[in-house]
Subunit: 221 residues, 2 copies
């Protein structure tokens, strides 16, 4: 009997699993900023030794999601107001350029997918799902730009501020406004107006940033 070779190799290491789980927890705000991440504790949660945990923490630190002090440990990174401000400015620059590059190449299928994602965002009532719906809409459009490195950096910059952004969507009328802005961006894309899509995307991100900063200033004094 001749069997096809089936690859049953495990593709994910323990390090990968721990990294992804912690990354998700930080991005979604389940781990509060400043919270201590004890190696032993995390290792027990994942039923592994501390080795994969430490490797995952190294990766997270490289992504700016945690900060480590030698012999003291690792805590969830806390961003200052000016750091958050800067990252929104960065995202506005990069994502507006990305949509400009994407618009001329958008296929009918990609536009249809964007419309569906737009709809999904509008219909999402669970605040915990807004973040993902938001990403789906924007990143779906960016795919057409065919710039994987740009997209990777865009993802990484959103990762750093996503937990704050989710708070902004939840605590204010941010989700409604985001939805209106998404519709305008989509319409510009549909028309093939790259410059307008870029301008709207830029304004969309800077708007969210300003709204978020006003919340933070109230909260932090």
């Amino acid at each position: 009997m001749k069997l096809d070779r089936i690859d049953i190799r495990q593709t994910a290491s323990a390090t990968d699993l721990v990294f992804e789980a912690l990354r998700k927890a930080i991005i979604e705000g389940e781990l509060a900023e400043g919270e201590h991440l004890r190696q032993d504790h995390i290792a027990q949660m994942f039923n592994t030794s501390r080795i994969p945990v430490r490797e995952a923490l190294q990766r997270l630190e490289q992504d700016g999601l945690v900060t480590t002090q030698r012999f003291k440990g690792t805590v969830v990174a806390a961003l200052s107001v000016s750091e958050i401000e800067e990252i929104f400015e960065f995202r506005a620059l990069l994502e507006s350029e990305m949509i400009r590059l994407a618009v001329p190449s958008l296929t009918r299928e990609q536009l249809e997918a964007a419309r569906a994602n737009l709809q999904a965002f509008a219909e999402t009532t669970d605040p915990g799902s807004w973040g993902e719906a938001n990403r789906n809409f924007h990143y779906g459009l960016y795919e057409a730009a065919d710039r994987p490195y740009h997209l990777q950096i865009i993802r990484s910059s959103l990762d750093r501020v996503d937990r704050y952004l989710r708070a902004q969507l939840t605590l204010t009328d941010g989700a409604q406004r985001a939805n209106r802005e998404h519709m305008a961006i989509f319409e510009a894309c549909r028309k093939g107006d790259a410059a307008e899509a870029a301008d709207l995307t830029r304004a969309h991100i800077l708007d969210a940033g300003r709204s978020l900063l006003s919340i933070l200033e109230k909260r932090r004094g």
Copy 2:
């Protein structure tokens, strides 16, 4: 007797040291792309166990400088032509914006430092030092923009292509051209013309990218 408190704590872990050394070796092109990085071998070089080596490799992978396959090991990352092309495009976008933000805030001291770095680059004959002199000139100017996150991403994007860029500076008249372009950028900064400095920086980076790509296409066929 009252002594000032002196902090004799070791600030650098073995992981830090290994990471920095490997990063430098990759950026400077001492490790060829595709070269296998054996944990055992590196551990012996640094007189440590494999644990800090593995942690350093995790960081390097997160920065895109190496790629790892489970159970197979880690190799120095090799970029495709289109990846290199994209990163130069990314750098042109980001660094032109950075200099635009920097110019209005440039102090006399920063301009003087830039002039000195310009001179240093021009007088550097050792190809191995061009990379650093180049960074000193550009990043010195960017400091004035007071955007640490932008600068971090700029560094990281240059890290990925620096070894190719150094080859381009060495193998062609790249260094001479770079020097002329640096002088023009400096002059625009001195005049306070942010838009021109941005345009020149954009052209400077795209020029180097095009020159590099033509070399690569010859080499790789």
